[in-house]
């Protein structure tokens, strides 16, 4: 078959790292057809696993308990940076019920952040395992630490990582500086955001079901079914094809769950040591301290615009704060075009756990800063912030989305002068834009089997993170075969099934749905060949609709048609087809807030997010994704942040009581809008696009409401009150 070359995104552990070229068959193949002509897709659909989840019958990794299973637990470092000077495991080993005690860090080794595992224990109950970690005698010699980005930037700060800083430079500094001199308005400002946490409902959990024999089953709460067997096999000393991974349901990943991670690594090592299954489920505190995070940021700008609303020059220095790990922020001026730009970027390290991918890695931070800056410039030149944005982005999608969002939120009613109005409760509005990739790649192998009894199974090893993967697999197959949702069963979440990519970078839908469509299409074509003779029709004249197979003016009920199949039924294979997915999504968020100027309390009154995504597979799931994105962005804007104590080097809020994610009472009226102006007949991942622009929208709405610009996230009442008091002092 002829081949063609296409470019697909390359994603490593959830972080997009450019594109790669791949060869695919050039066969024409199936197509989705017009977005508004679907029978099941692009309609609201109830998630097929909803009832099981709501009633508690869905089995998660933390529910799995193979016979003889032991509970793993870590002794974690209480120090930010220290050398282990003494380690006595014997007292733990002596406890009844303790089966294995393994040093993670040996005497002489270093711990580099609070929460870093020092010893791993396996015991018959979680309580005994916990007691065992406390029986271990460990002594540390403290080494210099730094846990705040601003302090790590000081000249004499302790060096956290051995490698020298790598400073990326882009653009022409001299030209940009010169251009700033002639701008009508210039803003010089610094924006900061704290390290964030994924806050998955299910903490990192792995159960290694291994009995010292020659096979193992590993149950994992993971974003990648197929990222598990290789890692696990290495730890267990088995060939990869002897390890099966199972991911039936999982309680959230948001970028933090690729590979077996530290929990899986030690679950496997403990299981191998004992020759019995071991579950390692992190505690919520461990989840905060040692299961990854999203990097904090410090971004400094000097930027200028002309009176007529052109962004002329942007100078940016961007520091990502990824603990001992690495990360990049999306480059400034983010999605905007400026005539002259210069950007310096580097990671600044602290003695904190390494950042990992988190919900559009590097984008919410970049967007928050740039959208705040755009707002400041718009007010300074006296231009409507929506108009100012439209003048500085080219893509028609954003123009369309900004207009739509403005209409939904009632933009014309915003304060023309920030803080204007009477009384203690002041309302304001703000907006922002964002982008994401969401393209697919060619890793999924799907089988659709039609049984002689009429049953239909779609099988692929993919995981469903809660995003609705199961539901659209069924819908695509059902629609192709003219059936209803309940006529199809999906088998997913096992490495024994066809390969699937890891769910990172919002790439699952765009990678998997084309392969499902291809398999369903091939199954239909194959079925048509079998049934055509019964109908006296040509195979390409057979129609599948309303549970019937039709042709030549005749019609058979589905089951009767299937009876024509051979004993084994038929199985058709499908793989990714480039014409069924695309890449590149746009979003625009608007927020209306109410600020109590006497208390600093912010109530988000209403949020609206407009998102394109090519062909919407399931409108209900998309609305949920958009709502989730809005909630995460308001969480980042107003509530969330890791707080570190400089002297002790420890996190002071490692729990969901003190690390505050929005709760039910914080949720505003939410208006999720699927941008149907996007007529691409291709599936594109959008989820991570939806949590980007809302951050800036909320921050800008706070400013519009009360006249206080808070540049340091989260915007908590104390910061607003301090700003209001400073403003009142200036005015008197």
């Amino acid at each position: 078959m002829a081949k063609k070359t296409v470019k697909v995104p390359k994603i490593v552990d959830g972080v997009p790292v450019g594109e790669v070229e791949i060869q695919v068959d050039d066969n024409g193949g199936p197509s989705w057809g017009a977005n508004d002509k679907h029978r099941l897709l692009n309609k609201p659909m109830i998630r097929v696993d909803g009832a099981a989840k709501a009633t508690g019958t869905a089995i998660y990794t933390q529910d799995v308990r193979p016979k003889g299973m032991l509970f793993g637990r870590f002794l974690a470092s209480p120090r930010a940076h220290a050398k282990v000077t003494k380690l006595d495991l014997e007292p733990a080993k002596k406890l009844a019920g303790v089966k294995a005690v393994l040093a993670v860090v040996n005497v002489g080794g270093e711990v580099r952040f609070e929460g870093e595992p020092v010893v791993a224990v396996a015991a018959t109950t979680p309580e005994v395992a916990e007691d065992a970690t406390r029986a271990i005698v460990v002594e540390f010699q403290d080494l210099p630490h730094v846990v705040k980005g601003a302090e790590a930037l000081q000249p004499n700060a302790p060096q956290v990582v051995a490698r020298p800083p790598r400073i990326q430079k882009q653009g022409d500094a001299e030209q940009t500086a010169k251009a700033l001199e002639s701008c009508d308005a210039v803003i010089e400002a610094q924006y900061t955001s704290p390290m964030l946490h994924h806050c998955c409902l299910e903490t990192h959990s792995i159960t290694a079901d291994f009995n010292g024999k020659d096979t193992a089953t590993v149950y994992a709460s993971t974003q990648g079914t197929f990222t598990i067997p290789g890692d696990s096999a290495r730890e267990l000393g088995l060939p990869q094809n002897k390890v099966t991974s199972i991911v039936q349901n999982m309680g959230g990943g948001f970028g933090s769950k690729f590979g077996i991670g530290i929990a899986g690594q030690w679950a496997c090592r403990l299981a191998k040591e004992v020759g019995a299954p071991v579950k390692m489920a992190l505690t919520r505190r461990e989840e905060f301290l040692a299961a990854g995070n999203g990097p904090g940021s410090i971004q400094k700008f000097k930027a200028g615009a002309s009176k007529d609303g052109k962004l002329v020059a942007v100078m940016a220095t961007q520091y990502a704060l990824p603990g001992i790990g690495n990360s990049n922020l999306a480059g400034q001026p983010y999605q905007y075009k400026a005539e002259h730009t210069y950007r310096e970027a580097q990671a600044v390290h602290t003695n904190e756990d390494a950042s990992v991918a988190m919900r559009a890695p590097g984008h919410p931070q970049a967007s928050f800063a740039m959208e705040s800056l755009m707002d400041e410039l718009a007010y300074k030149i006296g231009m409507d912030p929506v108009e100012f944005r439209k003048k500085n982005v080219q893509d028609a999608a954003w123009h369309r989305q900004l207009d739509r969002g403005a209409k939904e939120i009632g933009w014309e009613n915003r304060n023309k002068t920030p803080g204007e109005g009477k009384g203690n409760l002041r309302r304001g509005m703000g907006c922002g834009i964002g982008a994401w990739g969401g393209g697919g790649n060619a890793q999924c192998q799907v089988d659709v089997t039609i049984g002689k009894d009429g049953s239909v199974i779609a099988a692929v090893g993919s995981q469903d993170l809660g995003t609705g993967t199961r539901t659209y697999i069924r819908a695509i197959v059902a629609e192709e075969l003219g059936l209803e949702m309940n006529d199809v069963v999906e088998h997913i979440g096992s490495s024994k099934l066809g390969n699937a990519n890891a769910s990172g970078g919002s790439t699952t839908a765009a990678s998997l749905s084309p392969a499902v469509k291809d398999a369903a299409y091939n199954a239909r074509v194959e079925m048509a060949k079998r049934v055509a003779p019964l109908l006296g029709a040509q195979a390409d004249g057979v129609v599948f609709d309303q549970g019937r197979v039709m042709g030549n003016g005749k019609s058979l009920p589905w089951k009767q048609a299937c009876a024509a199949l051979p004993e084994a039924g038929l199985t058709a294979h499908g793989k990714w087809q480039p014409n069924l997915s695309s890449s590149g999504v746009h979003g625009a968020s608007f927020a209306e807030v109410e600020v109590d100027i006497e208390t600093g309390h912010v109530r988000v009154v209403k949020m609206c997010h407009v998102q394109d995504c090519g062909l919407p597979l399931n409108r209900t799931a998309l609305h949920s994704q958009i709502n989730g994105g809005m909630i995460q962005s308001m969480g980042m804007a107003l509530y969330e942040g890791r707080v570190m104590d400089s002297d002790l080097g420890v996190m002071v809020n490692p729990g969901l009581g003190d690390y505050k994610i929005p709760g039910t009472l914080e949720i505003p009226e939410m208006i999720p809008i699927i941008d149907d102006g996007d007529d691409r007949q291709a599936v594109i991942g959008m989820a991570e696009g939806a949590n980007v622009p809302g951050v800036g929208a909320v921050c800008n709405a706070v400013y519009n409401a009360c006249g206080v610009r808070v540049r340091d996230l989260p915007i908590t009442p104390d910061k607003i009150l301090s700003g209001i008091i400073a403003m009142q002092k200036r005015m008197t």
């Binding site: 006497e598 104590d645 002071v652 809020n653 929005p662 104390d718």
Partner: protein, 332 residues
């Protein structure tokens, strides 16, 4: 948590006996402890900041979960009354609306269905450093208050010094404003005292937040008849869904027919190491008619003497705003 012995108390006397220190030399946080709803105790146990050898279940004591009339127009609250009962009780809502508001402001519906009045009054502080297992702050027997010079945004502006936690109870300020008394049972029998005297400053005993000695429990709260139903509890939370007070004001006033203040009781929550009564502001109000001007002055007086740390100066204007609003609301 450490393993402990579980004991169901049949009576108050039984509970007191079971709470007798097993090792009198052991640290105060390693003595037998009572449990009502367990909503605070469990978090403390799991964080290893208390390590009782025995936990005495009070919920097996009959009759301590009732709200009863005292025959003189007031109410008696058993220590085991759960917060949701208090919040929904018609007589509480009619006579002491501020108390129903205070109960409603606490935590989440699930916690209010289990948490008790006694437990709410006796809960331990939420100071970040107190809750860090590995750091032995002064409150846990160490020799430093890490909040001073540390992350102290949520800490005290009143009554600090040796230790700078804030008292976490929402019921306490309101009950003090309602002139409540508390009955304590212990090895030497029962005693009753004004609730305002129940709480103690860190200067008195940094390891404890109240006068309870080992073996003592709260059995009942008495609220006298209110001269008027003008009471309110305004709690400011950073996150409305679930949070402790960043600041709160409990206010109970009695107005003459011409709306002159006959009596005022103002107690601040979320700002002091104890529920912080402000007698100077109360005295200022008596004999005056409430107005924006009077309320503002009272608010200023109420915050006199506040000693903010590096990150919590905002509590002063915030609390002043709450005082003004509480007074305006009660004058309506």
């Amino acid at each position: 948590m450490n393993s402990f012995q579980w004991a169901n108390a049949a009576t108050v006397e039984d509970a007191v006996k079971l709470l007798k220190p097993t090792d009198p030399k052991a640290d105060v946080d390693q003595q037998p402890m009572p449990m009502g709803g367990g909503q605070d105790l469990l978090t403390s146990l799991k964080a290893y900041i208390v390590k009782p050898p025995r936990v005495v279940n009070l919920k097996t004591i009959q009759g301590m979960d009732k709200i009863e009339a005292d025959g003189k127009g007031g109410l008696k609250l058993g220590a085991l009354v759960v917060l949701s009962t208090l919040e929904e009780h018609p007589e509480v809502r009619a006579k002491y609306p501020g108390l129903a508001e205070a109960a409603f402001s606490i935590a989440t519906p699930q916690i209010r269905n289990l948490g008790t009045v006694g437990g709410n009054l006796c809960q331990r502080p939420r100071c970040w450093y107190f809750r860090l297992e590995n750091y032995n702050c002064r409150k846990k027997g160490g020799d430093e208050c890490f909040a001073k010079g540390g992350e102290n945004k949520y800490n005290a502006i009143f009554g600090g010094g040796k230790s700078n936690y804030v008292h976490p109870s929402d019921l306490a300020p309101m009950l003090i404003a309602l002139d409540a008394t508390v009955t304590i049972a212990g090895p030497d029998g029962k005693r009753t005292m004004p609730l305002g005297e129940f709480f103690i400053l860190p200067a008195t005993n940094v390891r404890r937040e109240n006068v309870l000695k080992e073996g003592e429990i709260v059995t009942e709260i008495q609220i006298p008849a209110a001269p008027s139903p003008r009471s309110t509890y305004l709690k400011f939370k950073e996150r409305d869904s679930l949070d402790f007070a960043m600041s709160a004001v409990a206010a109970a006033i009695d107005l003459a027919p011409d709306k002159t203040v006959r009596q005022a009781r103002l107690v601040l929550g979320g700002v002091g190491t104890i529920p912080w009564r402000v007698p100077a502001a109360e005295a200022f109000l008596v004999g005056k008619k409430l107005s924006d001007e009077v309320n503002s002055q009272a608010a200023k007086i109420a915050l006199d003497g506040a000693k903010p740390m590096e990150q919590n100066e905002y509590k002063i204007p915030l609390t002043q705003a709450l005082v003004r609003r509480a007074l305006a609301k009660l004058n309506a």
